[in-house]
């Protein structure tokens, strides 16, 4: 699966392209963790606007990153999911611990604003 990373201040934005399934999830996890490490960013935005398919593997990817960043005071936000993807994330109660935004811009504004 293709990903594009962008950095805004202390926020890493991971834009995911295509199908996120259990097969793709392993690489996605490693790539995000390596990018967080390499750029030294504390906060993470998942931009799901270009995701065409996601199964429960996505829940694991998001929760795994959350559990890594949260103890160090880092924040995770999710942006721009399709209705089905939101439905799946909702089943796992993700939105009770992680904030959702309609666009990546709003998520970034929220996280960068929060730092100051």
């Amino acid at each position: 699966m293709d990903m594009i990373f962008n950095i805004k201040g202390n926020v890493l934005i991971a834009e995911l392209f295509g199908e996120l399934d259990h097969h793709a999830a392993g690489q996605v996890r490693t790539d995000i963790d390596q990018a967080m490490e390499a750029y030294g960013t504390a906060n993470l935005v998942f931009d799901f606007s270009k995701i065409t398919f996601m199964d429960s593997s996505g829940i694991g990817v998001i929760l795994g990153r959350y559990r890594k960043l949260e103890p160090e005071g880092g924040k995770v936000a999710i942006a721009s999911c399709s209705l089905t993807v939101r439905n799946i994330l909702n089943m796992a109660g993700i939105f009770s611990i992680i904030d959702y935004f309609d666009t990546a811009e709003e998520a970034i504004a929220y996280l960068t604003g929060k730092e100051e």
Partner: protein, 147 residues
């Protein structure tokens, strides 16, 4: 229950085949003129059952096959059966609970069965330790209009 247009497929139990398993399900169901949402839900349910068969049915270096069976149940239901001949499940009810996982790492959410349940109309899991697992799902399609 009268089943028609039966299609049986045998695939290697490797995660690389997960996308293909979804695509095959989509191709089969497309003939029944599903809505976009129904198609996504079926693809997702198949994706969950297939990955469970590969990851949990054949753990570690264990090799094997995943068997998929599709059938149309009149007038507009699709039945999908996904079978592995792997390690099987000790406690099926427990395995199907939301957030239950036997994964010891931090990366599996235990939501696969919950997703299958909410995206299909019926689900049945048959399993025996040492013999394998069959997940049978039935989805009713909203394509049959009875004016």
């Amino acid at each position: 229950m009268i089943m028609e247009k039966i299609l049986k497929i045998q695939m290697d139990a490797v995660l690389e085949n997960q996308g293909l398993a979804r695509a095959l399900a989509a191709a089969y169901v497309s003939e029944m003129d599903p809505t976009v949402d129904e198609l996504t839900e079926i693809k997702t349910a198949v994706s969950e059952a297939f990955s469970n068969a590969v990851i949990h049915g054949y753990p570690g270096d264990m090799q094997g096959s995943v068997y998929m069976e599709f059938a149309v149940v009149s007038p507009a239901n699709v039945m999908i059966k996904i079978t592995d001949h792997g390690v099987g499940i000790e406690d099926i009810a427990k395995a199907m609970e939301p957030l239950f996982t036997t994964d010891t790492g931090d990366e599996r959410s235990g939501m696969g069965f919950t997703v299958m349940e909410s995206f299909t109309d019926r689900i049945k899991v048959d399993s025996r330790p040492g013999e394998g697992t069959t997940v049978t799902m039935i989805k009713k399609l909203d394509t049959y209009y009875d004016f």
